[in-house]
Symmetry: C2
Subunit: 422 residues, 2 copies
């Protein structure tokens, strides 16, 4: 007897799942390990930038009032009493018609209020003393980078939940974060189900295929910013599967199974969820591929029953699991980023359900186009490896034509999106 399931729209499925999304735990890690992690607190300036008034050039620090009489026909002479590099401070007090040779980034001597660039001066020695002269008036504040003009102590520079890129690393270092509070990587357990599955090292035997979904999901979990835990594969046996899944739930933040969610005779997942007492949020979605994705929650923990079909499994992960992972990491834009792009091919056949076509976007003359990454039969196998996007073709009575604008979800983007569903 074939069970009758009622498909729900994709946005409703995502809503049901996001109801159980929550922010996760945090941990303090050394700055040198922070690349690619997610900030678990706002990054704040612990000091003004610049931290002190400083010279933006190699030049001479002087008192601007001493230049009052300088002009093209009247050079004013200054005695150069000291030289300071970046990282040093002046030891001497600067008096009238005295100057300090100052390097880029060095702190202004307190008596000085202007810097004159090296190129505008003439340097010479007389009686063993150093002098320079200039023929130009300076105003107070000329050529000074003032303390706090770029940012002030206490300002929030990068917000909690942001992924740490090289620029954020630089800010963390600048403001003294030698340890960084980041989101602990959520753990995602993976079980592959199906008697037909071989381990990767095994040779092919009649009727069997190698377990590829587990490795694909491992990589998707890593790309999303979490920690995969592969528990192994399960044969199609109810009791074995039930016990294994029940134990696994305790060990992870999220549990994914692949396969066993269809309505075939060996698809045990629905019954396992039932026996566990887990609440099934839905077991059919109005989408292709991935319509038989089943998601349940058990004591607030999400159990994802993804399809055993690789493409369906892939899409199911990106639409439903990724936003949960990113929310655990405090990221405010947990979903795949949605953009629009010009469709490069025809999809004349209407489809009652929304299709997610593995695709590749490309850029030309300031415009974005999208084309399926598995256009013909021989590309089916590699279509996932060549995909950097999922094209979204809403279900309905019409087909889609080359040149139309369509929605596209970016797979390799790190910025994400708040809510891509209309």
């Amino acid at each position: 007897m074939v069970e009758k399931r009622t498909p729900i729209p994709v946005h409703e499925a995502v809503e049901k799942i996001m109801f159980f999304a929550s922010s996760g735990e945090t941990e303090l890690i050394p700055l040198e390990e922070c690349y690619g992690r997610f900030l678990a607190e706002d990054l704040k300036a612990d000091h003004d930038v610049p931290p002190f008034d400083r010279s933006p050039y190699d030049g001479f620090a002087i008192r601007s009032e001493d230049t009052k009489l300088a002009n093209q026909s009247n050079a004013v002479e200054f005695e150069v009493i000291e030289e300071i590099g970046a990282g040093s401070v002046a030891k001497q007090e600067v008096g009238a018609f005295q100057a300090i040779r100052i390097m880029t980034g060095a702190q202004m001597p307190i008596q000085c209020d202007a810097v004159v660039m090296l190129e505008l001066t003439k340097e010479y020695e007389r009686d063993g003393r150093k002098y320079m002269s200039l023929k130009r008036q300076l105003q107070s504040g000329d050529n000074i980078s003032f303390q706090g003009e770029d940012t002030q102590k206490g300002n929030v520079l990068v917000e909690k939940g942001t992924r740490i890129n090289p620029g954020v690393s630089a800010l963390l270092a600048t403001f003294g974060y030698d340890k960084v509070l980041v989101g602990r990587k959520p753990t995602v357990g993976i079980y592959a189900t199906g008697t037909e599955l071989l381990d990767v090292h095994e040779g092919l035997v009649p009727g069997k295929i190698r377990n590829s979904n587990s490795y694909m999901i491992r990589s998707q979990v890593e790309r999303a910013g979490a920690e995969p835990i592969y528990f192994g594969k399960l044969a199609d046996d109810f009791d074995t599967c039930y016990e294994a899944i029940k134990e696994a739930i305790e060990k992870v933040d999220i549990l994914i199974t692949t396969g066993g969610v269809s309505v075939g005779d060996y698809d045990y997942l629905p019954d396992i969820y039932k026996k566990l007492g887990a609440e099934v949020l839905f077991n059919k979605i109005g989408m292709r591929p991935g319509s038989v994705t089943t998601v349940a929650q058990f004591e607030g923990k999400l159990l994802f029953g993804l399809s055993g079909n690789p493409s369906a499994c892939y899409v199911g992960f990106e639409l439903f699991v990724r936003p949960i992972i990113r929310t655990l990491l405090n990221n405010p834009n947990p979903h795949l980023k949605k953009i629009t792009a010009r469709l490069d091919v025809d999809f004349p056949k209407p489809n009652p359900f929304t299709r997610f076509v593995r695709s590749s976007i490309s850029f030309k003359d300031g415009m974005v186009s999208v084309t399926p990454s598995g256009l013909d039969k021989s590309n089916v196998v590699t279509s996932l490896s060549g995909a950097n996007a999922l094209m979204v073709l809403p279900g309905g009575t019409r087909g889609y034509e080359q040149g139309m604008q369509v929605d596209v979800l970016l797979l390799e983007d790190e910025e994400g999106c708040q809510w891509p569903w209309n």
Copy 2:
């Protein structure tokens, strides 16, 4: 005495560096660690896909010749002699008017040449035997996924040098790569020079700033796919710097120093290269920021003297170091990917040198726009953390206006580009 340097164009600088680019070493790693690494050999199919003729549906495998007389008014009856799930093979031989119940993905019994979908049949029992009937003719080959129709044994599916994404992981598993030959991560040594530098954990003191470039570059190195080795910071002292750099060269594939390349009194790098006997490829580039970037080669190994200014350092890494790393990883598109985008703001002031403006791209209605990520003074500090692109504004006599198409280099993209320079 200020040394006179002659700037060379950016593309020439990159050419000079790429002359020393070479492919790096390889290593064999477990499949579960391969995400984000680069293939060091072509990924080939070790078997046909599908590996055998199989059923794409749940249904019955039959001999099509037995359906010759079936039509809407004449149901043909088949005895169901066996049932096979995915991963099993039929044990019995299928004779005339016999059928085998077959699950999605299961191997076709050799006597059968068609599959009829479950929905098109009627199932019943009689005298303890199972039967099904159907009212439709089938042709030989109907509803069969044929061996090798997706790909054939020996086909190259993904090329050497490709970054391993989740789809590639799936292919590696499918084709039995339980160990994967990948490019060994090149090691990139980092020394920060400058007496003004504090360690990150140190409190600020007058005239000093924390060493942020080293952590920024660490992250850039990781993003590029290599292994950073931070050697520490060096005070502005010739002998210390010389000895440290000389030793470090032996330990890494690439050596980066930050600071000390300007023409300030404490900029020792040029002299250190000289004493080492390293060949300086260039010491000034017609670009902003990063004009004082100095690159030398010592016995074929590249020494990158990046500027101490964070933005210049950042840009110098992405333009000059990244393509060397990616070439070591066999990637055929080692440079930052170049696209064109609509300029969102005015840059009225002409600049004699090519500018690389840290920017952020955004998408709207199928078009890409670009805007500087540090538009006003207060954003200068965070402009690198918000940058996902570098806008390229070629030097010349004219400014740039809002709405113009400009070149943009993508920082977070993994596909790269063969040669972005005209």
